[in-house]
């Protein structure tokens, strides 16, 4: 019997409720700035929506999914009640309070600074304090993941940590460390000026701190999806995980190399030396490796399932796969989007190509495809898979689930492919309206209109998703069998100690951070005269 059921359900419901609120905002934004709508009379509304949509989708929604899923894994992979349940509820409360503290000023138009903050633009302090509270709540989760794993290790000496837990803890350490960058920016730079204690801020240094967080946060978002690839998909489709060892290595690689590569978000910035830009781009190339390993391992695992079901031939096993199973459909659609989104990422990672697309709509299209597409579709899959275990009720609207997954995929493709294209045409980001009548940009109109259509399909898909979950809350009660994660083809015989713990990998992560970020930050702090006046937003007389 496990005791974190309500905890996990609370996290996931709040996550999906916030997702459900932010999703239509996104489509409204797309519509407002498209040729289908006249120029909005007060552009501030648009930027307010962008701030709300970004803050919710980047800081609230994925954090809660990771936390909830992490608690689920803790109890079901370690097969014992979670330690620290009360602390977990405290962490959840901090996230909820933080979300409210952040969203209220945004909703009132006092913090239209976008989720990337962008000092010297400064909004109401409650916004930033809210974000800090959300992060602190998530750090409680990190501590609990670690404590639970180490207690289990102590009680099971010499035994390999179950892979789902190992991966979850890796993800939590990654998050804790990457959040430090934005935390430093918020605590030591932004909040003091938002509260009026100082009136100048070093915008360049703030951007460097933010870049520390900005890249690895996407790997934090990705963790639940990748954990699901390895630990849910093979079991759900009746197969086996091809390699437990390779899985551990992939997550270890993420832990080390996801972090110290953020300056590829600052390739065009003037405050960072070119040597560090190069260093970061090389390590960014490295972070493609764990994804390539994952693609192999998961495809192999899926092939095992296909062959176990009687599939034959080089590709014939594909037909034998359980396509009517939402998990199978979800992972396949996810991999298609991962392929395209990942290719876009390869373009962004080197300076010469990055300069062609930086801050054009290509970038926005890219992260919607890879995060909103490949990753979020796996969040849906996770929810569908564990929901009966959370609610104690059946979840069998399989037709609806498949329709929801297909509409999410189709909507995402229709939304983001034209979006990438207008980026290549040079459409700049984050404008409340565009003059499509002018021949210079008229060519962009058709693509933007197509994206509006894609977004509408996504809203429909989001509604379907919530319908499925709500149905799951009101369905007849059931006793699901004990939850099982996937099993490796060959359980690890002699697992190297290095793949069962984190000391070495955390050491490398911190060392690389010092090498890649230490000097830029230290020298920026030491350089006088780069603090500039704060520009407050949301002031109206």
């Amino acid at each position: 019997m496990w005791n974190s059921r309500r905890l996990v359900l609370a996290h996931l419901w709040f996550a999906f409720a916030s997702f459900g609120t932010a999703l239509p905002l996104g489509e409204w934004q797309m519509f407002i700035r498209s040729p289908l709508h006249p120029w909005i009379s007060d552009p501030e509304w648009y930027y307010r929506s962008v701030t709300a949509h970004g803050t919710t989708m980047a800081y609230v929604f994925p954090t809660l999914v990771a936390m909830g899923f992490g608690y689920f894994v803790t109890e079901h992979a370690l097969r014992r009640p979670m330690v620290g349940l009360r602390w977990a509820w405290l962490g959840f409360a901090l996230v909820v309070v933080g979300t409210i503290a952040a969203i209220v000023p945004v909703a009132l138009g006092r913090a239209s600074v976008l989720y990337t903050f962008y000092p010297p633009l400064i909004g109401h302090p409650s916004y930033y304090i809210g974000v800090v509270l959300v992060v602190v709540g998530s750090w409680v989760w990190v501590a609990l993941m670690s404590i639970n794993m180490y207690r289990w290790k102590r009680d099971n000496p010499g035994a390999p940590v179950p892979f789902p837990m190992f991966a979850t803890v890796a993800g939590s350490y990654l998050w804790a460390w990457t959040a430090v960058g934005a935390a430093l920016e918020l605590l030591f730079q932004i909040i003091p000026v938002a509260l009026g204690w100082r009136s100048t801020i070093d915008a360049g240094l703030a951007r460097v701190f933010f870049s520390w967080t900005l890249h690895a946060i996407v790997y934090f978002w990705l963790m639940p999806a990748y954990i699901a690839y390895y630990t849910i998909v093979p079991r759900a489709i009746g197969g086996r995980l091809f390699s437990d060892t390779m899985g551990r290595i992939a997550f270890i690689l993420f832990l080390i190399v996801a972090m110290p590569i953020g300056i590829h978000h600052a390739f065009e910035d003037p405050q960072v030396g070119s040597g560090f830009k190069y260093l970061h781009s090389v390590f960014t190339a490295l972070v493609t490796l764990p994804t390539s390993l994952t693609v192999f391992t998961i495809c192999a695992s899926v092939e095992i399932a296909g062959r176990l079901r009687g599939g034959k031939g080089v590709l014939g096993w594909l037909k034998a796969l359980p396509w009517r199973n939402p998990v199978m459909l979800g992972v396949a659609l996810s991999f298609v989007m991962l392929g395209f989104g990942g290719a876009g990422g390869l373009i962004n990672m080197s300076y010469p190509l990055n300069a062609t697309v930086h801050n054009t709509q290509w970038i926005t299209g890219h992260f919607h495809l890879i995060f909103g597409g490949a990753i979020v579709i796996m969040y849906f899959v996770i929810a569908y898979d564990i929901w009966p275990h959370l609610t104690g009720r059946t979840l069998d609207s399989f037709g609806l689930m498949r329709a929801q997954l297909w509409t999410w995929f189709i909507g995402m493709i229709v939304l983001t492919f034209p979006w990438h294209w207008v980026g290549i045409l040079g459409m700049p980001r984050r404008m409340a309206f565009y003059d499509y009548a002018d021949p210079a940009i008229a060519a962009q109109a058709a693509s933007v209109t197509m994206s509006v259509g894609g977004g509408a399909i996504l809203v429909l898909s989001g509604v379907l998703f919530l319908v499925v979950l709500v149905r799951g809350q009101t369905a007849p009660q059931t006793e699901p069998a004990a939850y099982r994660f996937s099993v490796a083809v060959r359980p690890p015989r002699a697992l190297p100690a290095a793949l069962n713990g984190f000391g070495l990998w955390l050491g490398l992560m911190v060392a690389l951070t010092i090498v890649n970020y230490g000097f830029p930050i230290a020298h920026s702090l030491a350089t006088p005269g780069t603090a500039v006046p704060v520009v407050e937003v949301g002031e109206r007389w």
Partner: protein, 187 residues
Amino acid sequence: MSHLSTSDEGADRGERTERRWATAAVMILALMVVVATFAALYHGAMPQSRVETADPRTLHLGGEFIESNLGSALEPDGSVTVRAIGQQYSFTPSCILVPTDTPVTFRATSADVVHGFLIDGTNINLMLVPGYVSSLGARFDAPGERLMPCHEFCSVGHEGMWGRIQIIDKAAFARMAADQRRLSCVE
């Protein structure tokens, strides 16, 4: 599970395939790094190699970015230096003039908040961060006119921040430069 063979031969084949895949992945990404490095070298596609500072509060009072010193300057060695500022919500000069077939260096900074600087159809793509000077070298092959939007959120007037750049024949530019020390196509 009866026909799931965990025979060593099958496992070894699987591991070999996995190793080959991992090796291929590493080689591909090494190749990408090498290609990016050589593109940097042979097309001069490199970020600026210096960090320079400038105080946004006093840009208009003295120094390189006062308004009369902005615009395109023909240097003694034949190259052109373009100086510009970004501010809420326009660039100055709002129309930049450059010649063809000449090394051009853009030098720009922000007078207030973070702005972007993008010349449509080119790789000239910069962030303007107040407190720092951005610079980039470029070369234009053919005459024409291009849009020059700000591509970073700079608060509520961002959607109105579009400049232009005109590329004119090198000789025509030189004739104009004989009369004026700082050129632009602002009317």
